[in-house]
């Protein structure tokens, strides 16, 4: 693998901390990165090129969304 970055490779691949595993889901067709919980999931970020999706107040980062409203892709 070829890495072309200003960040040293040892920093890129170093990890000693346990982070929450993220999942991907669709909310009304918009792809979002979430941390999946039992009933609700916390929004991490929106993955879209449509600027209007970022104005959607129900999927702002850190908000909890009911899992029933999400369609998980992984």
């Amino acid at each position: 693998m070829l890495i072309h970055s200003i960040v040293p490779t040892e920093s890129i691949f170093y990890s000693d901390k346990q982070y929450d595993k993220v999942s991907y889901a669709r909310y009304n067709g918009i792809l979002v990165e979430v941390i999946k919980g039992d009933n609700t999931s916390s929004i991490v970020r929106i993955i879209s090129s449509d600027p209007r999706h970022y104005l959607n107040s129900s999927i702002q980062p850190s908000l909890n969304v009911n899992n029933r409203e999400l369609f998980f892709t992984n």
Binding site: H4, V7, R52
Partner: protein
């Protein structure tokens, strides 16, 4: 009086409808009459075939490539604005995204904010017009490889060929000459413990790497002009 009412009623209804839409859907009907611009943010590390540890903020090519296809083929989208603040990353993934953007027919403009380093350089030049913020920086340095390296002359040749892919793309998509780009890339004494150079906003324009210094308004205005030109040509 009656006439005035007749004129104001539909407008009020429309305004109320817009407010209702923002309340209900959290969206504003943000389409401008001059064109609908989609915005792609390329942030953090460009992630390639390996999933990077979660402390890295990454841009994943499997998310970006289908979005670019959708932008190119969707009739409702008129142009693409690429916003870059990246530290570089995987060469193959970076070049794949760059090739996709440079192959698009719809108007494309890139804007570097903060930094567009390493593999961020071909990404920045891939758009039809590139902008850099005054305070933004670009680090230009040779590619490296992780994992075991066989200590034979062929390894050097392999590195040279891999480097050529990046150099060729940058030279073909910007005004900089091959000689000048390689000179900047192999400079010593500019970076504390590495070969290469760091260049700021205006310098990037002066060497011919980036088209202009500017911000978001300049980028959007350029896109609108490109949309108008394209519509006239159709």
């Amino acid at each position: 009086m009656k006439k005035e009412n007749m004129n104001t009623v539909p407008n009020t209804n429309k305004a109320e409808e817009n407010i209702e839409m923002i309340k209900e859907m959290g969206t504003a009907n943000g389409k401008s009459s001059r064109g609908n611009i989609h915005c792609l943010t390329i942030i953090g590390q460009i992630e390639g075939h390996m999933i990077l540890p979660p402390q890295n903020k990454t841009t994943k090519y499997e998310h970006v490539l289908p979005q670019l296809v959708a932008i190119e083929q969707n009739d409702e989208i008129d142009a693409l604005l690429v916003i870059l603040n990246t530290v570089g990353g995987d060469v193959e993934a970076g070049l794949a995204i760059s090739e996709m953007i440079s192959g698009m027919k719809k108007p494309t403009v890139s804007l570097i904010l903060g930094g567009g380093h390493s593999i961020g350089v071909p990404l920045a030049v891939s758009a039809q017009h590139s902008f850099i913020a005054t305070t933004a920086t670009m680090t230009i340095h040779p590619i490296r490889m992780n994992g075991p390296v066989i200590g034979v002359p062929q390894t050097f040749e392999y590195f040279n060929r891999m480097q050529d892919r990046v150099v060729e793309f940058v030279v073909n998509n910007s005004r900089i000459s091959r000689e000048n780009f390689i000179k900047i890339m192999l400079e010593t004494g500019k970076l504390a413990n590495d070969v290469g150079s760091i260049i700021f906003g205006q310098e990037a324009v002066n060497v011919g790497l980036i088209d202009s210094v500017g911000g978001v308004t300049d980028a959007i205005e350029t896109l609108y002009k490109m949309i108008e030109k394209r519509k006239k040509g159709d």
